[in-house]
């Protein structure tokens, strides 16, 4: 049952409700999966997938059949890794070798892990990890190699961070550290997915050469999550905002949550936003390289959501107090717009870039840089979808001038075609009506009486008082008697 609050909300925000209904009613999955036909262990894998990534599981399950299982398992592998890394109850001596060896564990029959703390939300996945191993082994070798490689690199990266005690106590120092962290937890995922897409023939192989593009895909998502979760992470005694950014304004990280530092907290927020915003054009460029609709949707939805979330968090002090979210209506609207084509996704990016631009505060130290970053997004969109056409210059380009001349002539002809068409229709109606009237007249119809009665009735209708005085029409007694 929806709560009274949400009913009141949607009653006052009909467009949001409309988006939700539209998405629920009109969205057709690109590919549909019949889970009941799958093996028991795979069904169990999908079950874990539902538990781990509620938000995007729908899009994963709509993926092209070729990639559905590999990508699902890729996510589960990374989730397993994450569950070990996150768990502060596992001692480092135990954690480090596990992380570094996790890529081999993927293939160890019957492997599972029961030593996670009871509060790890995905601990059950590791308890029943053998179902994963069983399905993983059935994958094509090419896919397995990609998943294994990324798992190994991410595991080592996580192990390095776990070992780096300074990171755990003091958090990330430089912007470079911060981006490196995002690289390990998200940039690598971008790489792995890109390799899977290309391997399956569903993306342009050129994407593999542009490492900066898939890196940006991961960076934007991760950075937006970090910006949004600042409060939650702080409450969990974690911090990902780089010291290089916040130390310009406060001496200790916890100070940004103090009410007297509101302006400083917002300045920190804008610099973090700027770092993420600079990745946006790369993401659009990347999306342009995807060939298959379900893969496009899979990549585009999280990016649109990230842009919207970035905008919701920008210059919003609430992020330091609570979890800021985009509304469900906006989320549905974004999903509708992100499951069609690149041009619509570009419109989404432009819309949110403009919103960020309008919220930009000129007393902020990064004011001009953010303004430029927003401009850069718009310019990039203009390069892929130009909104203007160069005028035709007859002198320099006689061919296209001729073309323009021809088009003009065609338009002129089309206009006359229309006129002739309308003329023909009118003439036809006229001829038919005339024929019918003539036939009726020949058959003895009394148009004179009809006309007089018509006049009389009109007179009555208009309520003219001189109805009685009106002379009744002279009706000629004989009709036509030809028939």
């Amino acid at each position: 049952m929806p709560s009274i609050g949400s009913i009141a909300y949607y009653a006052t925000h009909p467009t949001q409700l409309r988006s939700i209904i539209q998405w629920k009613v009109w969205h057709n999955p690109v590919h549909e999966l019949d889970e009941s036909k799958e093996t028991a262990s795979l069904q169990r894998c999908f079950h874990f997938l539902r538990l781990t990534s509620r938000s995007f599981v729908a899009v994963i399950l709509e993926l092209h059949p070729e990639l559905l299982v590999p990508i699902s398992l890729f996510y589960l592998a990374l989730r397993g890794l994450d569950t070990i890394e996150d768990d502060m109850t596992i001692p480092l001596e135990k954690k480090e070798p596990l992380l570094r060896d996790f890529h081999n564990i993927l293939e160890k029959d019957g492997w599972n892990f029961t030593e996670n703390g009871p509060n790890e939300k995905d601990r059950q996945l590791l308890v029943e990890f053998h179902v994963f191993v069983e399905e993983y082994k059935k994958l094509k070798p090419a896919y397995k190699a990609i998943i294994k490689d990324i798992t190994e690199r991410m595991g080592n990266g996580m192990a390095d961070y776990a070992k780096n005690a300074e990171h755990n106590i003091a958090g990330v120092n430089t912007i470079q550290d911060y981006e490196l962290y995002c690289h390990y937890v998200a940039g690598l995922v971008g790489e792995g997915l890109t390799r899977l897409f290309v391997e399956a023939g569903l993306a342009n192989p050129a994407l593999l050469k542009r490492k900066d593009l898939h890196e940006s895909m991961g960076q934007l998502l991760q950075q937006v999550n970090i910006i949004r979760d600042v409060r939650e992470d702080f409450d969990d005694k974690r911090r990902f905002y780089p010291k290089e950014v916040w130390s310009k304004h406060v001496d200790n990280f916890e100070d940004i949550f103090k009410p007297e530092n509101k302006a400083k907290a917002l300045a920190i927020n804008s610099e973090m936003t700027l770092l993420a915003l600079n990745r946006a054009d790369d993401c659009l460029y990347y999306l342009a390289g995807l060939r298959e609709q379900s893969v496009f949707n899979f990549c585009a939805i999280p990016q649109s959501m990230a842009m919207a979330t970035l905008e919701a968090c920008f210059q919003n002090y609430d992020i330091y107090l609570k979890n800021v979210k985009i509304t469900k209506g906006d989320a549905c609207q974004l999903m509708i717009e992100s499951t069609q084509n690149l041009q619509l996704v570009c419109e989404v990016f432009k819309r949110y870039a403009r919103k960020i631009h309008q919220k930009n505060n000129f007393t902020d130290p990064n004011f001009l840089k953010i303004s430029i970053a927003c401009g850069k997004i718009e310019q990039f969109i203009e390069t892929i979808f130009p909104s203007q056409k160069p005028p035709i210059d007859a002198k320099q380009n006689p061919a296209s001038a001729q073309e323009a001349e021809r088009l003009k002539k065609e338009a002129e002809e089309a206009k006359w075609d229309n006129i002739y068409m309308i003329g023909a229709v009118v003439a036809t109606i006229f001829v038919i009506t005339g024929t019918m009237l003539l036939t009726a007249w020949l058959a003895g119809a009394r148009f004179d009486i009809a006309f007089a009665q018509f006049k009389q009735q009109i007179g009555q209708l208009l309520g003219s008082g001189d109805l009685r005085n009106s002379t009744s029409p002279k009706v000629s007694p004989e009709g036509h008697s030809e028939l």
């Binding site: 631009h357 007393t363 001009l368 303004s371 718009e378």
Partner: protein, 360 residues
């Protein structure tokens, strides 16, 4: 190897000085011997360089110019001389009142260029780089230009500056041939330390109390260019014409590649001068246009010269930015100094200058 002789017209001007600086900042500046030609000697406050030969000459005096060329025997010419009317003169259509402005601008920008091109060709110069302007395209004031490139034809500019620069540019590019290579660079609004127009104009709004008013929706984007970056582009163009010559006969946009809302840019500059508008008022674009028209009529009736006109509104509210891919590809141009840094440097220099003026 004998150094390559470069002659820079307008060599003591805002851009000319920066181009000389860019040549001297090259890893091996001795490769080039520079002659700076200008109607004015290096003035007080602007930089002059001991390695550079300064010659005083007027490009409108053909015979005088010939002598300078015969004596200097340059290999390459960089032609930066132009005049750009500012304020109400920028927008004045050709008419009785504005005839003098139009005639002066046309004479210097077109006849001056013609003299330089012809004299250079006669003097056996190998290459000529001409400073054109984005206005050859973008000064069709009532139109938007979004990310346009060099394939757009010119010839529709309505201002006297844009019209004169278009004719000059065509003149230069038509003169291109294998033994006399020419190209035209089209920078957008220039700024920098010692900048005579952009920053002083925007700074002037503070004293006029104009800073609270936002013209239009503040969603349009425009290009600006740091003078140092434009100077780099000229050096790159000279080297290109002397080597691969892929730029020969080409017109190339040069900007900072960072289109930005003009309102935001002004706010950022005012911040550099420690000014904060104490309220902000949005004036809708259509309304502003009518106010501009009214102001023009009033000026016409009263015979005064007000600053506000439709031209100002159009200059402030339209999209005017270009694509610099061609500069990147042909010249290998990359804006070295980004806008925020460039404005900081420039405004600091102005602040010092204003402080010094206040003392005297």
């Amino acid at each position: 190897m004998a150094p390559i002789k470069v002659l820079i017209t307008g060599g003591t001007g805002f851009l000319g000085t920066a181009i000389i600086q860019a040549f001297l900042a090259l890893p091996d500046p001795s490769l080039y011997a520079i002659t700076a030609l200008d109607i004015n000697p290096p003035s007080l406050g602007t930089q002059s360089f001991s390695q550079v030969r300064y010659v005083r000459s007027n490009i409108l005096q053909r015979e005088e110019l010939k002598k300078v060329f015969e004596e200097a025997r340059p290999d390459v010419v960089v032609h930066t001389v132009a005049v750009s009317p500012i304020g109400p003169d920028r927008y004045a259509p050709y008419g009785k009142k504005s005839k003098r402005v139009w005639d002066t601008v046309f004479e210097i920008n077109i006849e001056g260029t013609r003299n330089v091109v012809e004299v250079a060709e006669e003097a056996g110069v190998k290459a000529l780089v001409h400073t054109s302007s984005v206005t050859v395209l973008l000064d069709e004031l009532d139109k938007d230009f979004r990310n346009v490139d060099e394939t757009w034809s010119t010839g529709r500019a309505t201002t006297c500056y844009g019209a004169s620069k278009t004719i000059a540019e065509n003149l230069v590019l038509d003169a291109n041939k294998p033994d006399f290579l020419t190209c035209a660079l089209r920078p957008s609004a220039l700024f920098g330390p010692n900048d005579p127009v952009t920053i002083p104009t925007i700074h002037g709004c503070i004293a006029n109390g104009e800073t609270p008013f936002i013209l239009g929706g503040n969603e349009n984007l425009q290009d600006y260019t740091y003078v140092g970056n434009v100077a780099d582009a000229h050096v790159l163009a000279v080297r290109n014409l002397l080597n691969s010559a892929t730029a020969a006969g080409e017109a190339i946009f040069i900007t900072n590649g960072e289109p930005v809302s003009p309102r935001d840019l002004c706010l950022a500059i005012w911040r550099e001068f420690d000014h904060t508008p104490f309220f902000q008022l949005r004036i809708p674009e259509n309304f502003a246009w009518w106010v501009g028209l009214g102001s023009e009529w009033w000026n016409w009736i009263s015979g005064s010269k007000g600053n506000f006109s439709r031209g100002v509104i159009l200059d402030a509210t339209k999209d005017r930015y270009v694509n610099i891919t061609k500069a990147r590809q042909i010249l290998g141009y990359e804006p070295r100094v980004g806008l925020p840094e460039a404005f900081r440097i420039s405004c600091q220099s102005f602040k010092q200058k204003f402080a010094a003026q206040a003392k005297t």
